[in-house]
Amino acid sequence: MDLTLKIWRQKDAKSAGKFVTYPLKNISPNCSFLEMLDILNEQLIQKTEEPVVFDHDCREGICGMCSLYINGRPHGPDDAVTACQLHMRKFSNGDTIVIEPWRARPFPVIKDLMVDRSAFDKIIQEGGYISVNTGGAAEANNILVGRENSELAMDAAACIGCGACVAACKNASAMLFVSAKVSQFALLPQGQVEAKQRVKKMVRMMDELGFGNCTNTYACEAECPKLISRSNIARMNREFMCAKVI
Protein backbone atom coordinates (compact mmCIF):
# COMPACT_ATOMS: atom_id res chain seq x y z
CA MET A 1 0.00 0.00 0.00
CA ASP A 2 1.12 3.52 -0.71
CA LEU A 3 -0.03 6.12 1.80
CA THR A 4 0.21 9.81 2.58
CA LEU A 5 0.60 10.57 6.27
CA LYS A 6 -0.18 13.95 7.79
CA ILE A 7 1.35 13.94 11.25
CA TRP A 8 1.31 16.55 14.01
CA ARG A 9 4.92 17.53 14.77
CA GLN A 10 5.71 19.59 17.84
CA LYS A 11 9.22 20.01 19.20
CA ASP A 12 8.26 20.25 22.87
CA ALA A 13 5.45 21.34 25.17
CA LYS A 14 6.24 25.02 24.68
CA SER A 15 6.76 25.15 20.91
CA ALA A 16 4.00 25.63 18.38
CA GLY A 17 3.35 22.53 16.31
CA LYS A 18 2.30 21.92 12.73
CA PHE A 19 1.23 19.12 10.43
CA VAL A 20 3.96 17.60 8.26
CA THR A 21 3.17 15.40 5.26
CA TYR A 22 5.12 12.18 4.70
CA PRO A 23 4.61 9.89 1.70
CA LEU A 24 5.11 6.21 2.63
CA LYS A 25 5.39 3.42 0.07
CA ASN A 26 5.07 -0.36 0.10
CA ILE A 27 3.30 -0.90 3.39
CA SER A 28 1.92 -4.39 3.93
CA PRO A 29 -1.78 -4.53 4.83
CA ASN A 30 -0.80 -7.02 7.55
CA CYS A 31 1.36 -4.45 9.25
CA SER A 32 0.02 -2.99 12.48
CA PHE A 33 -0.52 0.74 12.64
CA LEU A 34 2.38 1.25 15.03
CA GLU A 35 4.66 -0.93 12.86
CA MET A 36 3.79 1.35 9.99
CA LEU A 37 4.94 4.31 12.09
CA ASP A 38 8.13 2.36 12.98
CA ILE A 39 8.84 1.97 9.26
CA LEU A 40 8.33 5.69 8.76
CA ASN A 41 10.67 6.43 11.68
CA GLU A 42 13.40 4.16 10.31
CA GLN A 43 13.23 6.02 7.03
CA LEU A 44 13.38 9.36 8.86
CA ILE A 45 16.39 8.22 10.90
CA GLN A 46 18.18 7.14 7.73
CA LYS A 47 17.60 10.62 6.36
CA THR A 48 18.93 11.96 9.73
CA GLU A 49 15.56 13.56 10.48
CA GLU A 50 13.87 13.50 13.90
CA PRO A 51 11.67 10.41 14.22
CA VAL A 52 8.00 10.89 15.15
CA VAL A 53 7.47 10.48 18.89
CA PHE A 54 4.41 8.47 19.93
CA ASP A 55 3.46 6.59 23.08
CA HIS A 56 3.37 2.77 23.07
CA ASP A 57 4.39 -0.07 25.32
CA CYS A 58 2.72 -3.48 25.29
CA ARG A 59 1.52 -3.36 21.67
CA GLU A 60 -1.16 -5.90 22.50
CA GLY A 61 -3.98 -3.71 23.76
CA ILE A 62 -3.48 -4.06 27.50
CA CYS A 63 -1.33 -1.20 28.73
CA GLY A 64 -3.23 1.81 27.42
CA MET A 65 -0.15 3.74 26.34
CA CYS A 66 -0.85 4.11 22.63
CA SER A 67 -2.89 7.22 22.00
CA LEU A 68 -3.36 8.30 18.41
CA TYR A 69 -6.27 10.26 16.97
CA ILE A 70 -6.45 8.78 13.49
CA ASN A 71 -8.66 10.33 10.78
CA GLY A 72 -11.05 11.79 13.33
CA ARG A 73 -11.27 8.80 15.67
CA PRO A 74 -9.26 7.88 18.77
CA HIS A 75 -7.46 4.58 18.10
CA GLY A 76 -8.51 4.80 14.44
CA PRO A 77 -11.26 3.39 12.26
CA ASP A 78 -11.74 0.00 13.97
CA ASP A 79 -14.13 -0.52 16.89
CA ALA A 80 -13.06 -1.81 20.31
CA VAL A 81 -9.33 -1.87 19.60
CA THR A 82 -6.38 0.23 20.66
CA ALA A 83 -4.15 1.87 18.04
CA CYS A 84 -1.56 -0.89 18.52
CA GLN A 85 -4.20 -3.51 17.62
CA LEU A 86 -5.22 -1.64 14.48
CA HIS A 87 -4.05 -3.12 11.18
CA MET A 88 -3.27 -1.39 7.93
CA ARG A 89 -5.85 -3.55 6.14
CA LYS A 90 -8.42 -1.17 7.61
CA PHE A 91 -7.07 1.42 5.14
CA SER A 92 -6.89 1.45 1.36
CA ASN A 93 -4.06 2.02 -1.06
CA GLY A 94 -3.65 5.76 -1.73
CA ASP A 95 -5.32 6.86 1.53
CA THR A 96 -4.32 10.01 3.33
CA ILE A 97 -4.09 9.34 7.07
CA VAL A 98 -4.15 12.28 9.48
CA ILE A 99 -2.61 11.49 12.87
CA GLU A 100 -3.14 13.88 15.77
CA PRO A 101 -2.37 13.70 19.49
CA TRP A 102 -5.21 13.49 22.05
CA ARG A 103 -6.52 17.03 22.46
CA ALA A 104 -7.68 18.15 25.90
CA ARG A 105 -6.56 20.89 28.24
CA PRO A 106 -5.55 18.39 30.97
CA PHE A 107 -3.54 16.35 28.38
CA PRO A 108 -0.84 18.75 27.16
CA VAL A 109 1.35 17.62 24.26
CA ILE A 110 4.87 16.66 25.39
CA LYS A 111 6.27 16.09 21.91
CA ASP A 112 4.70 15.24 18.53
CA LEU A 113 1.97 12.68 19.23
CA MET A 114 2.84 12.06 22.88
CA VAL A 115 0.65 13.69 25.52
CA ASP A 116 0.97 13.92 29.28
CA ARG A 117 -1.80 11.84 30.83
CA SER A 118 -0.65 12.18 34.42
CA ALA A 119 -3.99 13.95 35.05
CA PHE A 120 -5.45 10.44 35.19
CA ASP A 121 -2.91 9.44 37.84
CA LYS A 122 -3.91 12.46 39.91
CA ILE A 123 -7.54 11.32 39.78
CA ILE A 124 -6.55 7.78 40.82
CA GLN A 125 -4.50 9.17 43.71
CA GLU A 126 -7.70 10.75 45.08
CA GLY A 127 -9.20 7.35 45.84
CA GLY A 128 -8.95 4.92 42.95
CA TYR A 129 -7.82 2.19 45.33
CA ILE A 130 -8.81 0.42 48.53
CA SER A 131 -6.74 0.74 51.69
CA VAL A 132 -5.74 -2.66 53.06
CA ASN A 133 -3.40 -3.22 55.96
CA THR A 134 -0.49 -5.49 55.25
CA GLY A 135 -0.24 -8.79 57.08
CA GLY A 136 -1.42 -12.32 56.47
CA ALA A 137 -3.73 -12.49 53.46
CA ALA A 138 -7.32 -13.09 54.55
CA GLU A 139 -9.28 -16.05 53.21
CA ALA A 140 -10.81 -14.74 49.97
CA ASN A 141 -14.16 -16.44 50.52
CA ASN A 142 -14.72 -14.75 53.86
CA ILE A 143 -16.42 -11.91 52.02
CA LEU A 144 -18.93 -13.22 49.54
CA VAL A 145 -19.40 -11.35 46.28
CA GLY A 146 -22.44 -11.90 44.08
CA ARG A 147 -21.80 -13.22 40.60
CA GLU A 148 -23.42 -10.31 38.79
CA ASN A 149 -21.55 -7.65 40.72
CA SER A 150 -18.25 -9.43 40.36
CA GLU A 151 -18.77 -9.54 36.59
CA LEU A 152 -19.78 -5.86 36.42
CA ALA A 153 -16.81 -4.88 38.58
CA MET A 154 -14.51 -6.88 36.34
CA ASP A 155 -15.96 -5.20 33.24
CA ALA A 156 -15.35 -1.79 34.80
CA ALA A 157 -11.84 -2.81 35.83
CA ALA A 158 -11.05 -3.57 32.18
CA CYS A 159 -10.41 0.16 31.65
CA ILE A 160 -6.77 0.59 30.66
CA GLY A 161 -6.69 4.34 31.25
CA CYS A 162 -5.83 5.15 27.66
CA GLY A 163 -7.84 8.38 27.53
CA ALA A 164 -9.64 7.64 24.26
CA CYS A 165 -12.90 8.58 26.00
CA VAL A 166 -11.55 12.07 26.70
CA ALA A 167 -10.12 12.34 23.20
CA ALA A 168 -13.41 11.36 21.57
CA CYS A 169 -15.69 13.47 23.74
CA LYS A 170 -16.61 16.83 22.26
CA ASN A 171 -16.28 18.21 25.79
CA ALA A 172 -13.04 16.41 26.65
CA SER A 173 -14.91 14.86 29.57
CA ALA A 174 -13.28 12.11 31.61
CA MET A 175 -16.54 10.74 32.98
CA LEU A 176 -16.20 7.29 31.42
CA PHE A 177 -12.72 6.76 32.84
CA VAL A 178 -13.56 8.10 36.31
CA SER A 179 -16.84 6.20 36.42
CA ALA A 180 -15.12 2.94 35.51
CA LYS A 181 -12.65 3.47 38.35
CA VAL A 182 -15.39 4.42 40.81
CA SER A 183 -17.60 1.52 39.73
CA GLN A 184 -15.03 -1.22 40.02
CA PHE A 185 -14.89 -0.53 43.76
CA ALA A 186 -18.46 0.60 44.33
CA LEU A 187 -19.67 -2.78 43.11
CA LEU A 188 -17.64 -4.77 45.62
CA PRO A 189 -17.98 -5.00 49.41
CA GLN A 190 -14.28 -4.18 49.83
CA GLY A 191 -14.89 -0.85 48.12
CA GLN A 192 -17.72 0.25 50.40
CA VAL A 193 -15.57 1.49 53.29
CA GLU A 194 -14.17 4.43 51.35
CA ALA A 195 -16.95 4.69 48.77
CA LYS A 196 -18.34 8.11 49.67
CA GLN A 197 -15.00 9.83 50.01
CA ARG A 198 -13.76 8.15 46.86
CA VAL A 199 -16.44 9.37 44.53
CA LYS A 200 -16.47 12.90 45.93
CA LYS A 201 -12.71 13.32 45.81
CA MET A 202 -12.21 11.76 42.40
CA VAL A 203 -14.96 13.90 40.86
CA ARG A 204 -13.56 17.02 42.50
CA MET A 205 -10.11 16.30 41.09
CA MET A 206 -11.57 15.56 37.66
CA ASP A 207 -13.26 18.98 37.67
CA GLU A 208 -10.21 20.79 39.02
CA LEU A 209 -7.97 19.39 36.33
CA GLY A 210 -10.20 21.03 33.72
CA PHE A 211 -11.89 18.07 32.06
CA GLY A 212 -15.22 19.01 30.48
CA ASN A 213 -18.71 18.08 31.64
CA CYS A 214 -20.66 15.14 30.30
CA THR A 215 -23.47 16.05 27.92
CA ASN A 216 -24.53 12.49 27.18
CA THR A 217 -23.31 12.20 23.60
CA TYR A 218 -21.84 8.76 24.42
CA ALA A 219 -18.85 9.24 22.13
CA CYS A 220 -16.72 7.83 24.98
CA GLU A 221 -18.54 4.53 25.01
CA ALA A 222 -18.44 4.32 21.22
CA GLU A 223 -14.64 4.72 21.13
CA CYS A 224 -13.58 2.86 24.27
CA PRO A 225 -11.27 0.00 23.26
CA LYS A 226 -12.41 -1.94 26.32
CA LEU A 227 -16.14 -1.36 25.72
CA ILE A 228 -16.65 0.32 29.09
CA SER A 229 -20.38 0.96 29.34
CA ARG A 230 -21.96 4.32 30.00
CA SER A 231 -24.04 2.63 32.68
CA ASN A 232 -20.91 3.18 34.79
CA ILE A 233 -21.44 6.94 34.40
CA ALA A 234 -25.01 6.54 35.64
CA ARG A 235 -23.69 4.49 38.56
CA MET A 236 -21.12 7.14 39.42
CA ASN A 237 -23.80 9.86 39.34
CA ARG A 238 -25.90 7.73 41.70
CA GLU A 239 -22.95 7.18 44.00
CA PHE A 240 -22.14 10.87 43.90
CA MET A 241 -25.70 11.94 44.65
CA CYS A 242 -25.97 9.52 47.57
CA ALA A 243 -22.56 10.52 48.91
CA LYS A 244 -23.58 14.19 48.87
CA VAL A 245 -27.13 13.86 50.11
CA ILE A 246 -27.08 10.97 52.58
Binding site: F19, G72, K170, G210, N213, A222, N237
Partner: protein, 223 residues
Protein backbone atom coordinates in the same frame (compact mmCIF):
# COMPACT_ATOMS: atom_id res chain seq x y z
CA UNK B 1 -13.40 30.24 37.54
CA UNK B 2 -14.04 31.13 41.16
CA UNK B 3 -17.66 32.21 40.96
CA UNK B 4 -20.00 30.06 43.03
CA UNK B 5 -21.57 28.39 40.03
CA UNK B 6 -18.25 27.33 38.64
CA UNK B 7 -17.40 25.73 41.97
CA UNK B 8 -20.41 23.39 42.02
CA UNK B 9 -19.19 20.04 40.79
CA UNK B 10 -19.89 19.04 37.22
CA UNK B 11 -22.24 16.27 38.35
CA UNK B 12 -24.20 18.56 40.69
CA UNK B 13 -24.80 20.98 37.84
CA UNK B 14 -25.82 18.15 35.53
CA UNK B 15 -28.26 16.71 38.05
CA UNK B 16 -29.97 20.07 38.53
CA UNK B 17 -30.10 20.51 34.80
CA UNK B 18 -31.77 17.13 34.39
CA UNK B 19 -34.30 17.68 37.21
CA UNK B 20 -35.25 21.09 35.88
CA UNK B 21 -35.44 19.77 32.32
CA UNK B 22 -37.82 16.99 33.37
CA UNK B 23 -39.90 19.49 35.34
CA UNK B 24 -40.12 21.65 32.22
CA UNK B 25 -41.25 18.63 30.26
CA UNK B 26 -44.15 18.05 32.65
CA UNK B 27 -45.11 21.70 32.42
CA UNK B 28 -45.04 21.53 28.63
CA UNK B 29 -47.80 18.88 28.66
CA UNK B 30 -49.98 21.10 30.85
CA UNK B 31 -49.34 24.02 28.53
CA UNK B 32 -50.23 21.89 25.53
CA UNK B 33 -53.49 20.89 27.15
CA UNK B 34 -54.45 24.54 27.56
CA UNK B 35 -53.37 25.48 24.05
CA UNK B 36 -55.41 22.69 22.53
CA UNK B 37 -58.51 24.46 23.90
CA UNK B 38 -57.87 27.00 21.15
CA UNK B 39 -59.04 24.38 18.67
CA UNK B 40 -62.58 24.38 20.09
CA UNK B 41 -64.97 26.41 18.04
CA UNK B 42 -66.37 28.20 21.07
CA UNK B 43 -65.05 31.69 20.59
CA UNK B 44 -62.31 31.00 23.06
CA UNK B 45 -64.53 30.14 26.02
CA UNK B 46 -62.52 27.11 27.18
CA UNK B 47 -59.18 28.67 26.43
CA UNK B 48 -60.05 31.88 28.27
CA UNK B 49 -61.37 29.89 31.22
CA UNK B 50 -58.10 27.94 31.37
CA UNK B 51 -56.07 31.12 31.04
CA UNK B 52 -58.16 32.71 33.78
CA UNK B 53 -57.56 29.72 36.07
CA UNK B 54 -53.83 29.75 35.39
CA UNK B 55 -53.74 33.50 35.94
CA UNK B 56 -55.55 33.56 39.25
CA UNK B 57 -55.10 30.24 41.09
CA UNK B 58 -52.62 30.56 43.96
CA UNK B 59 -51.18 27.06 43.65
CA UNK B 60 -50.54 27.71 39.99
CA UNK B 61 -48.84 30.95 40.92
CA UNK B 62 -46.42 29.13 43.23
CA UNK B 63 -45.64 26.68 40.46
CA UNK B 64 -45.21 29.56 38.08
CA UNK B 65 -42.40 31.03 40.15
CA UNK B 66 -40.72 27.62 40.26
CA UNK B 67 -41.18 27.25 36.55
CA UNK B 68 -39.75 30.63 35.70
CA UNK B 69 -36.77 30.00 37.97
CA UNK B 70 -36.46 26.52 36.45
CA UNK B 71 -36.20 27.92 32.95
CA UNK B 72 -33.62 30.45 33.95
CA UNK B 73 -31.51 27.91 35.83
CA UNK B 74 -31.77 25.31 33.08
CA UNK B 75 -30.54 27.81 30.52
CA UNK B 76 -27.96 29.28 32.87
CA UNK B 77 -26.49 25.89 33.79
CA UNK B 78 -26.59 24.80 30.14
CA UNK B 79 -24.53 27.83 29.15
CA UNK B 80 -22.02 27.44 32.02
CA UNK B 81 -21.50 23.75 31.26
CA UNK B 82 -21.04 24.53 27.60
CA UNK B 83 -18.51 27.31 28.21
CA UNK B 84 -16.49 24.98 30.45
CA UNK B 85 -16.71 22.34 27.77
CA UNK B 86 -15.33 24.65 25.13
CA UNK B 87 -12.50 25.61 27.49
CA UNK B 88 -11.63 21.95 28.08
CA UNK B 89 -10.24 21.65 24.54
CA UNK B 90 -8.28 24.79 23.70
CA UNK B 91 -6.57 23.21 20.67
CA UNK B 92 -9.10 21.65 18.32
CA UNK B 93 -8.58 18.64 16.10
CA UNK B 94 -7.89 19.23 12.42
CA UNK B 95 -10.11 16.32 11.38
CA UNK B 96 -13.50 16.78 12.99
CA UNK B 97 -14.70 13.88 15.11
CA UNK B 98 -16.07 10.89 13.22
CA UNK B 99 -17.37 8.96 16.23
CA UNK B 100 -20.84 7.56 15.80
CA UNK B 101 -23.06 9.41 18.31
CA UNK B 102 -26.87 9.79 18.61
CA UNK B 103 -28.49 12.20 16.18
CA UNK B 104 -28.10 15.87 17.24
CA UNK B 105 -26.76 14.88 20.67
CA UNK B 106 -23.75 17.12 20.03
CA UNK B 107 -25.90 20.15 19.26
CA UNK B 108 -27.93 20.51 22.47
CA UNK B 109 -26.62 24.01 23.10
CA UNK B 110 -27.77 25.08 19.63
CA UNK B 111 -31.21 23.45 19.74
CA UNK B 112 -31.55 24.82 23.29
CA UNK B 113 -30.43 28.28 22.14
CA UNK B 114 -33.03 28.35 19.36
CA UNK B 115 -35.71 27.33 21.86
CA UNK B 116 -34.52 30.17 24.08
CA UNK B 117 -35.04 32.73 21.28
CA UNK B 118 -38.56 31.42 20.92
CA UNK B 119 -39.14 31.59 24.65
CA UNK B 120 -38.12 35.24 24.76
CA UNK B 121 -40.52 35.98 21.90
CA UNK B 122 -43.19 34.01 23.67
CA UNK B 123 -42.65 35.82 26.95
CA UNK B 124 -42.94 39.19 25.23
CA UNK B 125 -46.15 38.12 23.50
CA UNK B 126 -47.90 36.47 26.41
CA UNK B 127 -46.25 36.12 29.79
CA UNK B 128 -45.05 39.71 30.17
CA UNK B 129 -48.49 40.91 29.14
CA UNK B 130 -49.92 38.88 31.98
CA UNK B 131 -47.42 40.45 34.35
CA UNK B 132 -48.33 43.85 32.92
CA UNK B 133 -44.78 44.49 31.71
CA UNK B 134 -45.80 44.86 28.08
CA UNK B 135 -48.64 47.08 26.84
CA UNK B 136 -51.63 45.17 25.53
CA UNK B 137 -54.70 46.64 23.82
CA UNK B 138 -56.66 43.35 23.97
CA UNK B 139 -58.62 43.15 27.19
CA UNK B 140 -61.60 41.04 28.22
CA UNK B 141 -64.58 42.84 29.73
CA UNK B 142 -63.30 41.78 33.20
CA UNK B 143 -60.09 43.68 32.59
CA UNK B 144 -57.91 40.58 32.06
CA UNK B 145 -55.70 40.23 29.00
CA UNK B 146 -57.63 38.51 26.21
CA UNK B 147 -55.14 35.77 25.33
CA UNK B 148 -57.55 34.11 22.93
CA UNK B 149 -57.55 37.13 20.64
CA UNK B 150 -53.86 37.76 21.11
CA UNK B 151 -53.14 34.17 20.05
CA UNK B 152 -55.53 34.34 17.13
CA UNK B 153 -54.03 37.58 15.86
CA UNK B 154 -50.54 36.10 15.99
CA UNK B 155 -51.35 32.79 14.35
CA UNK B 156 -52.99 34.35 11.32
CA UNK B 157 -49.65 36.01 10.51
CA UNK B 158 -48.02 33.36 8.26
CA UNK B 159 -44.45 34.34 9.22
CA UNK B 160 -45.24 33.97 12.93
CA UNK B 161 -46.88 30.61 12.40
CA UNK B 162 -44.00 29.30 10.30
CA UNK B 163 -41.43 30.35 12.90
CA UNK B 164 -43.63 28.80 15.60
CA UNK B 165 -43.78 25.49 13.70
CA UNK B 166 -40.04 25.40 13.00
CA UNK B 167 -39.21 26.13 16.60
CA UNK B 168 -41.33 23.30 17.87
CA UNK B 169 -39.54 20.95 15.50
CA UNK B 170 -36.24 22.13 17.01
CA UNK B 171 -37.65 21.66 20.52
CA UNK B 172 -38.58 18.11 19.50
CA UNK B 173 -34.96 17.43 18.60
CA UNK B 174 -33.80 18.93 21.90
CA UNK B 175 -36.21 16.80 23.89
CA UNK B 176 -35.60 13.58 21.99
CA UNK B 177 -32.00 13.65 23.19
CA UNK B 178 -32.78 15.32 26.51
CA UNK B 179 -35.30 12.89 27.97
CA UNK B 180 -33.11 9.81 27.94
CA UNK B 181 -30.08 11.94 28.84
CA UNK B 182 -31.82 13.24 31.93
CA UNK B 183 -32.42 9.71 33.25
CA UNK B 184 -28.85 8.72 32.51
CA UNK B 185 -27.67 11.81 34.39
CA UNK B 186 -29.92 10.98 37.33
CA UNK B 187 -28.27 7.58 37.50
CA UNK B 188 -31.08 5.55 36.01
CA UNK B 189 -29.59 3.28 33.41
CA UNK B 190 -30.55 -0.34 33.44
CA UNK B 191 -30.91 -2.78 30.54
CA UNK B 192 -34.50 -3.31 31.58
CA UNK B 193 -35.57 0.33 31.37
CA UNK B 194 -33.21 2.09 28.98
CA UNK B 195 -34.93 1.14 25.73
CA UNK B 196 -38.28 2.00 27.23
CA UNK B 197 -37.05 5.41 28.37
CA UNK B 198 -35.55 6.14 24.97
CA UNK B 199 -38.75 5.17 23.18
CA UNK B 200 -40.90 7.24 25.51
CA UNK B 201 -38.59 10.22 24.97
CA UNK B 202 -38.94 9.93 21.21
CA UNK B 203 -42.70 9.50 21.53
CA UNK B 204 -42.92 12.61 23.69
CA UNK B 205 -40.60 14.55 21.39
CA UNK B 206 -42.87 13.82 18.43
CA UNK B 207 -46.33 13.99 19.99
CA UNK B 208 -46.00 17.08 22.18
CA UNK B 209 -44.42 19.39 19.55
CA UNK B 210 -46.91 18.02 17.02
CA UNK B 211 -49.76 18.99 19.35
CA UNK B 212 -48.44 22.55 19.44
CA UNK B 213 -47.89 22.59 15.67
CA UNK B 214 -51.50 21.65 14.89
CA UNK B 215 -52.70 24.96 16.33
CA UNK B 216 -51.08 27.40 13.83
CA UNK B 217 -52.04 25.01 11.03
CA UNK B 218 -55.61 25.19 12.18
CA UNK B 219 -55.66 28.98 12.31
CA UNK B 220 -53.80 29.39 9.01
CA UNK B 221 -55.54 26.80 6.88
CA UNK B 222 -58.89 25.88 8.37
CA UNK B 223 -60.18 29.02 10.03
Amino acid sequence: MNSTFFRFSSITKKIWMAFLGLFLMIFLVVHLGINLCLLRNDGGAWFSAAAHFMGTNYIVKVFEIGLFAGFIFHVFLGIILQVQNWMARPVRYMVSNKTDTPFLSKYMIYTGGIVLIFLILHFINFYFIKLGWVFNPNMTPDGEPDFYHIAKQLFVIPAYSIIYILLFIVLGFHLNQAFQAAWQTLGINHPQYTTCIRRFGTFYAIVVPLGFIIIPFYFLLIR
